[in-house]
């Protein structure tokens, strides 16, 4: 530790501390424009200039990159000389960028209103680049992509990309836009696949995030695809802030083997990809949301704090909710997704509650099938929601509004009045179809169960046994079996759990009695059956020169029974005698 004197105060600091940090710990403000703790001090703005006094000699240095190494150094941060230097510096900046807020504010705090200089490169823009170099530094030191750089000298100096072109080395992390003090660098496009997202994006905005405050478990996760660390090896800022050192970049998914007796498949559903239906403009038109995105917006801990807002921040004047996007549609899924009608009504209720907007529901049939649902539907009708029965053909963006604000024109058929209608809306919410998980076919193979024609998992019996499958010990619940709402999922899952528990409490499993058996006297030891068994249950007993079936391994398919030339193998429950008698009986009529 060393002791230095800043503006008359004695301060103890660690060696190699910069003057800016030492002053900060003493509560003394030193103006900076290009300084950030995140990267190496650059010392380009010179606003942090201070006087250091060593004995009788006085020097002017930049506080951001001057490391303190000796005891007893005196520092003056606000002497008349320093004040004059800073004034000149900020006047030069103000003359060139007179409308940039950070420059104007800094000038005001240093007592400058009007610059006395006239700049040849005067830039009136509010978001002009002030050449602070923060973007260049963060890209080089933190992101380690090293893609931004300065070009030219003097008044022609500018921040550029190599060859002034976007290139693949840029990982679109958005760090430059984040650090830019004037907003000159902007994140324009919403790139779902990778990288930084625009302000109005409703999902998580950082690579390390807690998806929602209701997430279980409520711990942050790192999105590997957009994390700077996994892409370039740079950054790692989150780990420097995490005191318990809980962040581990090396952690990977691992496969763990667990032995279990029963399995409940509750693998859920996914929503149909709305981008395959371009007529609705999802992902192309502003203010067209999927129901899940809108749900996120309604969440009081969500991006808008629960307010219903258009992308430009204004309150929508009219909101449309379109049912059955991909459900009950011959082109996509023939089945009804079941949950959409009710959440669409809830949306209408909440939009009415939180805004003054008109609400339109575009539906095919209202299916308020559950307990209390019909009553809710009636209540919504009384609240004055516009119900339009018919499919929407197209959503188009129109710019000819009287106030110049673009709006969405929904073209639809109203079958109740028998007319085509065009309705102007500010926001549209699409209710996408529930569909089986994309990898349901793989899961099906693993557990040797079946899928129904709509690709949801097939239950043992549609009416009498909707929770178990054709494979013993494998149960299904929730939307993995078919679209259903929360009460139905809870009921089905509880039933499955109870069924599993009943088997556990029994302590033993009743096996299917259907097994194959070798009648020793008839077996000639030909060994034809030995290679047929897919379970390796048949072995050859060398000393007796006959084949033997291990009852525990046998699953009772009967392939060996059919193949045995000596009829020495019998399949319990399906013996030759039984089946031949069946044939006789069936053909006797």
């Amino acid at each position: 530790m060393i002791t230095v004197n800043i503006d008359g105060k004695d301060i103890q600091v660690a060696e190699e501390t910069t003057i800016v940090k030492a002053a900060e710990s003493a509560g003394i403000w030193i103006p900076t424009m290009c300084y950030s703790e995140l990267f190496e001090p650059y010392g380009i703005c010179r606003l942090c200039s201070v006087e250091i006094i060593r004995g009788k000699r006085t020097r002017i240095v930049t506080a951001c990159n001057y490391p303190l190494r000796e005891n007893g150094l005196k520092i003056r941060t606000n002497s008349p000389v320093i004040q004059e230097i800073r004034k000149v510096l900020i006047e030069l900046m103000l003359s060139r960028w007179p409308n940039v807020p950070v420059v104007k504010n800094m000038a005001a705090s240093l007592g400058v209103i009007e610059p006395k200089f006239v700049s040849l490169e005067r830039d009136e823009a509010e978001d002009a680049c002030i050449l602070c170099g923060m973007c260049v530094n963060i890209c080089r030191d933190v992101v380690k992509a090293n893609i931004l750089g300065f070009a030219n000298r003097g008044i022609k100096r500018e921040v550029v990309l190599p060859y002034e072109k976007m290139n693949s080395e840029c990982i679109v992390c958005g760090a430059c836009a984040y650090v830019c003090p004037t907003g000159h660098i902007k994140i324009k496009s919403l790139d779902y696949e990778r990288g930084a997202v625009a302000d109005w994006y409703l999902g998580p905005k950082t690579a390390i995030n807690i998806p929602t405050l209701q997430a279980v478990p409520r711990v942050p996760k790192i999105d590997e695809e957009s994390c700077i660390k996994t892409q370039t090896g740079g950054c790692g800022i989150c780990s420097t802030y995490c005191e318990p050192e809980a962040i581990n970049y090396e952690d990977k998914d691992e496969e763990v083997e667990i032995e279990v007796g029963q399995i409940l498949l509750a693998t859920g559903f996914q929503l149909i990809d709305l981008k395959q239906m371009p007529q609705y403009g999802y992902g192309r038109l502003d203010n067209v949301y999927s129901s899940l995105e809108f749900e996120h917006m309604l969440n009081s801990t969500g991006p808008t704090g629960g307010l219903v807002k258009c992308k430009d921040g204004s309150e929508p004047r009219a909101v449309g909710i379109i049912h059955c996007i991909g459900s009950r549609d011959e082109n996509y899924h023939k089945y009804c997704s079941r949950v959409c009608c009710m959440y669409a009504l809830k949306f209408a209720h909440l939009v009415k509650d939180r805004t003054k907007a008109e609400v339109y529901q575009f539906y095919i049939d209202m299916r308020a099938f559950g307990k209390g649902y019909e009553e809710f539907y009636k209540r919504l009708l009384d609240e004055g929601v516009n119900m339009i029965r018919g499919k929407v053909a197209e959503i188009a963006e129109v710019h000819s509004g009287s106030d110049g604000k673009p709006y969405l024109l929904v073209k639809c058929e109203d079958t109740l009045i028998g007319k085509f209608r065009e309705i102007a809306l500010d926001m549209v919410i699409l209710c996408p179809a529930i569909e089986p998980q994309f990898d349901a076919a793989d899961v099906k193979k693993i557990f040797s169960i079946s899928q129904s024609p709509d690709k949801f998992f097939l239950e043992r019996h549609p009416k009498l046994d909707p929770i178990s499958t054709m494979t013993d010990g494998v149960f299904i619940a929730g939307c993995a079996q078919g679209p259903k709402d929360i009460p139905d999922s809870v009921a089905q899952a509880s039933a499955a759990a109870a069924r599993m528990l009943s088997l556990i409490s029994l302590g033993e499993v009743a096996l299917d009695p259907v097994k194959a058996e070798v009648v020793d006297e008839y077996c000639s030891g030909c060994r034809i059956c030995n290679n047929l068994c897919p379970y390796g249950a048949i072995s050859f007993v060398d000393d007796k020169k006959i084949s033997n079936i291990n009852e525990m391994l046998c699953k009772g398919c009967g392939t060996c029974v059919a193949a045995c030339p000596a009829s020495a193998i019998t399949g319990k429950g399906f013996t030759d005698m039984q089946i031949l008698s069946e044939i006789e009986g069936l053909l006797s009529i």
Partner: protein
């Protein structure tokens, strides 16, 4: 006279259906109220691999006009590979049937999964129609 006889005649089909796929598929066809052939007389086996060629010959001998064997799709067999064995046996059996003077078209092997109730329905109807065209099986002693 002959027309009324033809109308009153309907083929007799013996169907060996595997427990896991086609039998369940037939069940689904029923639950879904699909129209399937009433000529089909079903015998359930655990796997289509259980179907001994003797059963098929016996069925023809006892007066069946057609025999259908239903199993899981290739790769979907509940017993991993039982249906491969069925496939081999049926191909050989068809050659044998031809030698006995039985049209091999009277033996059908169909892969129908548990979810394909509609496939079960139209396959059996189609088979029935085909057997009507072939007429009754006439075996000489």
């Amino acid at each position: 006279m002959s027309t009324t006889k033809e109308k009153s005649w309907s083929p007799r089909i013996v169907a060996f259906l595997c427990n896991w796929c086609t039998y369940t598929g037939a069940d689904l066809a029923g639950v879904s109220r699909l129209k399937s052939s009433p000529s089909v007389r079903v015998i359930r086996t655990m796997c289509s691999g259980r179907v001994d060629p003797t059963f098929v010959l016996k069925a023809f001998k006892l007066g069946a006009d057609g025999v259908m064997i239903g199993g899981c799709h290739i790769g979907d067999c509940h017993y991993s590979e039982g249906n491969f064995k069925t496939l081999r046996r049926v191909e050989m059996l068809k050659i044998l049937l031809d030698q006995y003077g039985i049209d091999p078209r009277r033996l059908r092997l169909e892969w129908i999964s548990a979810s394909e109730g509609d496939k079960y329905a139209h396959t059996t109807l189609d088979f029935e129609q085909q057997l009507r065209e072939l007429g009754p099986l006439q075996l000489t002693e």
